[in-house]
């Protein structure tokens, strides 16, 4: 089974405006609302691919229940912890000539809530996949991903961590199956400028030396570079297409990588599947569908 964890899921409320003026009354002429959060995105793409998975994390209030409802309508399985206070945040995306975002805080998460999460995590079994993705709400200790991996360390679980900076560096000692920083995040982690693919490979290998099994460095329109657990370097380009929306594209790569790996047990095939899935999201208004992924896969 694949498990995803999203500590602070959201509803993303997209409002389309002719113009966005701060400190004024603005009117939108169309609205959409989607569940959001990196782990949630991974789960939804896996659902679209009909790959069984379970979304874990904290939800609260009527917005939290809506996140759960939509996930289930999309054919997904969830095992969220429903907090008894607050509401899951609504992140506002204002689409005018340029984009403005306002992200909410979301509900407080207490140590007792975290204990409930640890109990849920005990259901994960040897050989399962666990995706830890996204930033950490203020009310949760920075060490949470490390703490989770430490707790599961002797279980032989394939953990995928999609996080940045210290949040990522701290977990490497527990040998995550896959990490997927982009090239900008990679440069930030080592406080360097990356001028070439060789530079990227050099620093990606450092992450591997620190413990990561497979290191996938995404580079947006420039494709991505995978350093496999056997030290092989594989570069792949993205298929041609018109970029509509990059939100969730990285999460889609994670979903695609796991899906491809489970199907073929081959890391290069997984990279191909990840690329098709990430691009399928970038070329769509929301997350990648199975048809779109198949279409792009045939072009790689």
């Amino acid at each position: 089974m694949i498990y995803t964890v999203t500590l602070n899921p959201s509803l993303d409320y997209v409002m389309h405006l002719d113009q966005m003026n701060a400190h004024c009354v603005n009117r939108s002429n169309k609205e959409e609302i989607y569940p959001g959060g990196k782990g949630i995105n991974v789960s939804i793409v896996l659902n679209n691919l009909r790959i069984p998975n379970k979304a874990l994390g904290f939800i609260a209030g009527f917005t939290g229940k809506e996140i759960e409802n939509v996930m289930k309508q999309l054919g997904g399985d969830t095992d969220f912890i429903l907090l008894d206070r607050g509401i899951s945040r609504i992140n506002v995306k204002l689409e005018a000539d340029k984009e403005t975002e306002i992200n909410g805080m979301g509900p407080q998460i207490t140590p007792s809530d975290l204990k409930d999460l640890y109990i849920k995590l005990e259901q994960i079994e040897e050989g399962d996949f666990l995706v830890l993705a996204g930033s950490i709400p203020k009310s949760v200790p920075d060490s949470i991903y490390k703490d989770i991996m430490k707790m599961l360390a002797n279980k032989n679980i394939n953990v995928v961590v999609d996080a940045t900076k210290d949040l990522l560096l701290n977990v490497l000692q527990y040998k995550p199956f896959l990490i997927k920083p982009n090239h900008i995040e990679l440069a930030e982690m080592f406080n360097v400028t990356l001028n070439s693919d060789d530079d990227i490979v050099t620093y990606a290998r450092k992450l591997q030396e620190m413990g990561a099994q497979n290191v996938l460095i995404s580079m947006g329109g420039d494709g991505s570079i995978l350093i496999t657990n056997e030290g092989e370097v594989v570069k792949i380009s993205v298929p041609e297409g018109t970029v509509i929306n990059t939100v969730g594209s990285g999460d889609s790569m994670v979903a695609g990588f796991i899906a491809g790996y489970l199907k073929t047990k081959d890391l290069k095939q997984a990279l191909k599947f990840a690329t098709a899935t990430g691009s399928a999201t970038a070329f769509s208004t929301w997350l990648a569908t199975s048809d779109k992924i198949d279409d792009l896969l045939s072009k790689l």
Copy 2:
């Protein structure tokens, strides 16, 4: 019974930010969410005063159901029409050093939905109050308030209309019990500058000549002027206090006026009650509570 109609109810999502920057990613550090819409506000204040009333209008999706839930939790009665498409809009209020608002469109309302509303309106009986408040969604004909009043014309119902410009001018022929434009809206309707209370009375009387029974002109911190159905002019000042939030203050005046009138059958007492109620909202973070109204009433 008192009925309120809100054609496009909302959830008002208040996000508190240190600073609001357009075309950037902003983060809020606190969020609140309230049901919104003028008729909804009138109903909530009546509920706070424990005055039976029923909220009518259109709701849609999980946000619409939440509006209904909260109204019921606040002790109110509702008889909304649940549309089978879209969601009731979320209006976003960004509170930084200055306020930015982004109001949504909300769901499409079809002629068949309007027919359902007319059927609901048939339950209103002689002597009841009906509050028609707020602007009209694009999908609804501009004549809706006039059409509703025409349909109910022979029933001797006390209709209160809180609307502006043509929306208000068009209904006057059906002799609404009360209209409540503010002094700025009054000036706009006649395309004039109002320099004194005498000017305001002159134009308020014109609205009365056009059909309105009682005309209440609110003037924010400068109090308000009532022209009664007997032609009497009554001016009242607002009580002292610190203004925290003017949203819903006008709607609270409407609720207070009806509550005071039902209690005393005296228009001057109704004006006093309206003033205390409007101010109670202005001096609160959300809508007026019964305690706050009583407190201010004792100071008038």
